[in-house]
Symmetry: C2
Subunit: 424 residues, 2 copies
Amino acid sequence: VAAKGELSSRLSVMTFLNEVADDYPEAISLASGRPAPDFFDMDGWSGARALFDRYMQASSGASALTTARRIAQYGRTAGMINDLVAEQLRRDEGLPCDADRVVITNGCQEALALCLQALCSAPGDVLLVRNPTYIGATGAAEVAGIELLAVDERLESWTAAIETALHAASHRGRRIRAFYVIPQFDNPTGSVLTEEERVEILDVCARNRVVVLEDNPYGMFHFDGPTLRPMAALDDHGAVIYLATYSKTLCPAVRVGCAVLPKTLFGDGLAARVLATQLVQRKSLLTVNTSQFNQALVGGVILAEEGTLSRIVEAPRRHYARNRDTLVNALAAEFAGYEEFVAWNHPLGGFFLTLELPFSFGAPELVRCAADYGVAVLPMLFFSLDDSQRFRVRLAYSDATPAEITRAVAAFGRSVRDRMTELG
Amino acid sequence: VAAKGELSSRLSVMTFLNEVADDYPEAISLASGRPAPDFFDMDGWSGARALFDRYMQASSGASALTTARRIAQYGRTAGMINDLVAEQLRRDEGLPCDADRVVITNGCQEALALCLQALCSAPGDVLLVRNPTYIGATGAAEVAGIELLAVDERLESWTAAIETALHAASHRGRRIRAFYVIPQFDNPTGSVLTEEERVEILDVCARNRVVVLEDNPYGMFHFDGPTLRPMAALDDHGAVIYLATYSKTLCPAVRVGCAVLPKTLFGDGLAARVLATQLVQRKSLLTVNTSQFNQALVGGVILAEEGTLSRIVEAPRRHYARNRDTLVNALAAEFAGYEEFVAWNHPLGGFFLTLELPFSFGAPELVRCAADYGVAVLPMLFFSLDDSQRFRVRLAYSDATPAEITRAVAAFGRSVRDRMTELG
């Protein structure tokens, strides 16, 4: 399945969603995958910033005033808190990670956009994605004029799926340069790749010099099931660029994320350093450097927490886990007797659940749900490169109360039963 | 003069400059155009942030806690402080400006990159620039694969210069979509376009549907000479996108800038709104939204200053003006007797001065000046699309003390006289 990048396609989805939200402000939203704001500790985090200022004073020997002025000035394009971010990723994600392989960005979205542009810079360079996948990845590829190709996961193995895509691309004179994937608590599906799958993907990608762009925004929100290492921690090939963000663990307004480059690119240390330089140069022409005020805030929190965010994510993690429980229990109650028509997965972490319906659910059904039933959910079609996902919806349980989730599921259940009756 | 965009050319300049700065840390820098950090009022500005929080509470009716959480959350891609920014631009720059025509960005560089990508999105679309010009504009065009064309200012008029460029482009099957210009205290030259020149450029650009990208980072640092209105304030055609930044008036770490769209695009209101939507959609895929922490800080300062930054820029403006005086006086003393060989302009504001030498000054001369004379200045070649600027250098007087400027000019004068002797 090949989809030529058109600026309008994925972008119009976002405009449409905003319009629905404006038109039906009372609808309970299981559409938004925002973090729960109850856990934003603005005062505590602002307070921690002073720790970073003192840390920088101590390491540079400069006065408090000079340090404060340096933070307020232009700064290093690759970032100012790379050592602290590297430590946090080592501690919390088990990532082998040195400061000089970290590029700090304006949230993970900028890291993603920079990597796509640097990796797929020649005409005919293609980004491989899952289907469905995160709309920010396909959208960023589209605005950069990068062609997308979806891996066919119905094939017998990841090796077969990726190699089939490679052949299809090469047959059309294209080259797959990168594979974008969220192995842990995927957006939009909520699924997890097993360690065996991760290793298999790494092997086939490395063999074919396809960079794995591993995005891990939800990794710290693990509820149950085995603890799996990120692909970057399993990577012996130099195949993985790891993307991280503080939007979910702290809050979105910090707008701090990063890309972590491999030590070598498929065994070539120089190539990895060249790629790092390209990312930094591109960043300097896009946003100059990431706000040092925001970097100082994130750096201060990492210092205050002694290198790990595990304490900070504990309360929101419990909240998301309880919401997941509320959602799957409400679904089980609501769709009792409908098990052959309606199915869903059981997310082991993260913000999202996939629900399968016995009828197609697209933009008109979304509007009808919001208008007539007061509940908003997202068609998986919006995240998809073809119509294979037309029977699926994404339910986001991150930014709702348990009571809202229960009411939303009841309303959504009514809409599903009504629709089934209507369709006979 | 046409220059095909190559990623390496302008980017390698930046890498080179960083290396020189690392290799000769003791050299006095007249190279950096950074704002003077002595005037960064971090404590005052952080304090002003509370004003914005109260302003948002009052306008939404939400509680302090809810407001603080909304600010920390994801937000509107086009920005949160558009009304306050519009007011400040009306007051301080005389810009006719409504909130709904403002797109808040991660510093002006993101606004510039977004505008270039949206305006020059088709193959063959060309950006017209002055020669020399700001390296962030030519660099952003290059990474986006946009071809550059330099206007030839030696022709008899702006009309002739721009129409010659239009013909040259059209002859090669290209279309000039935008003209990037800093009319007020240009970077790198320090020059000012007269009101007559501004009106003439507007007329010829409007007639040919070329968007004027007016960048105005230094407008508030006006020392002497007539007060001129920005081109956006003179624009009757709907030809100007105005780019603004708070990096120089407040400080770079706020990373807040904006693009102000015209009410109509060449008389077409719908086209202007479509362009605004394109900028916002592209921004959402690049950086999602500008940090609301930083927006709240800028918004708070604008509220505290009752809509104008004139009080805040007063002290740095005096500092920059005194530095300009120190620089031109030192040059006059240093090059007394050399008037037929060395010349310079008298900037009426901003951060930069152009100096003309009797010999070519490029990267090797820069390194030699830094290594042997302890002073760093920038070859105008670095800002140029051809070698027409090889006898010129840019002297930046923004981020140095008067004593440093005097010592730097003495050292630079020695290097010039030595070089003249060497060349006979």
